[in-house]
Amino acid sequence: MVEARTQAARLWNLQRQGQVGTLAPIDGHEAVVAATAHALDPTHDWILPQYREPLALQRFGPEVLEQYMLYNIGHPHGSRFPPSVRVAPLQISLATQIPHAVGLAWGMTLQNEPGVTTVFFGDGSSSEGDFHEAANLAGVLKAPVILLCVNNQWAISTPLHQQTAAETLADRAVGYGMPGVRIDGNDAAAVFDAVDEARRRALDGGGPTLIEAVVYRLGPHTTADDPTRYVPAEDLEAARRDDPIERLADHLAGLGLWDEETRSAVEAEALIRIDEAFERAITQPLATDAIFDHCFATDTPRMARQRAALLDSAP
């Protein structure tokens, strides 16, 4: 969590220097993402992220950071996690990844593969038709999927009460015949327990679970957003007093497992890792005709001509 927060700050600086593109900071989501990753089994379970999560998904493989840096500089290989990393590419078209998670979970069941899929989406995405259609199908199929709605109160500038008239998002689970759980997403232990329970149920054939993890978006929607135009300052101030990192730090400090020295060491290591990853990313080669790669397994005749023409015109 500290690693993710530290690296997010570095990314923010890199973005402001024009070194990486627009990105969505993780601030405020660290506990829900990191604790979820820790409750899952990276060798059998899948995570389908939205776009805010990668820095806290590094338990699923150190390559996550490497790929995320490539992604942020706009290198096409940024979405290609290696086969050992069971993380799907980031998803910008909101909620479209939820049907994929249901289909993947269903496909694993058909092939008798033990494991669950966990899909991250937000309070805004819960208004999309894909959420409804996918949750409904997951319920019907009893697919081993965890629908993890991170309710951070804001969909860019739209507050939750304009997103839904429902009292809670977890309530919607009733309509899909699955358990709905509402948890404090700033409480890493609560997140771990909820995901662990949902995972066990799914593996036992009990089907999907909808988890609503309530957090507060502590940063802007993306580096292109100015939340001071719409987030009440007093609300943000109150949310900062409930910072998920400080809550866990206080708890661990009370147990004698965490102190400022440890934090400084984690932060220093995190910065070294992201700086190294950034250096590797910007020196990654990119072929002149890479734009055509992996559109189809084999170029169509028309694409083959386009590729040849591009190569011919290249300096």
């Binding site: 979405s79 058909l110 790669d293 559109c295 397994a297």
Partner: protein
Amino acid sequence: MTGTSEMNMLQAINESLHGEMARDERVVLLGEDIGHVGGVFRATEGLFEKFGAARVVDTPLAEGVIVGSAVGLAMAGLVPVAEIQFLGFSYQAMHQIAGQVARLRYRSQGRFEPAITIRAPFGGGVRTPEMHSDSLEGQLANIPGLKVVTPATAADAKGLLAAAVRDPDPVMFLEPLRGYRGIRGEVPDGDHVVPLGSARVAREGDDLVIIAWSYQVELACRVADSLAEEGLSVAVLDLRSLVPLDIEAIADAVDRCGLAVVVEEASQTGGFAGEVVATIIEECFWSLEAPVVRVSGFDVPYPVGMLEDTFVPDETRIAAAVRRTLETA
């Protein structure tokens, strides 16, 4: 396996699905009403009984998640064959078709193999209710990463569907509603695969070539046959697939004839016939003896029953376009 059997397109499609499911246990069928009842047209008849409920799945009524879950099934290493009951309903899945299915390989830079086939009947002429008959092949062909296949004969329905299911890339397999029972022919027994991207010369001819796909090939052949009685030699080129497009076959036919008419059922503006005409201009402008003419649906929404015959190109309109082109030259 050298024999043939006479059957309609629906039976050919059904036979192809039986063959593919038996050949590859990763093939999974999903869609509305495809299991117990065997599909509203019976295209999937007998598959549920033969391959079971795990591989032939009746889904909830939700086109978006039929396609969206097929993406997940492909990510799991399966080979989903999804059915959209009528192509007009695919608008409710278009965000998954265009944004996700077509981009799965590209977005993951080759990690995930989108071996997904989406079958859907399309086209008019059978007095279906609103939204059942839309021809969206031009819109689909404009989506990079998607193959668009349009069989016109029973044999091709079997062979192209087998190729689509085996293809590592996503294929929109568009079946002519009017051809389901209206087109019959000899179909090779056993394993029969027609590679995607190779057009078929449906009629030989030297004076003019009609370029068409799907059910319009049937009409074009009837026009060619009737004009042959007047001594006119009209060729018909069946594109079979719009993506990949057989550019060479188009160029060969137009270079030989010097005159071309392109027929489509979709509305004209932005339709695929325009793409074919542009290809002709690029490839064989100097062979042309007269302007290329398009015969298309009109630029209106697909109409209700009493207006259907006005909208859909028929033999009269195709023949008139052919005569006009021959007279212009």
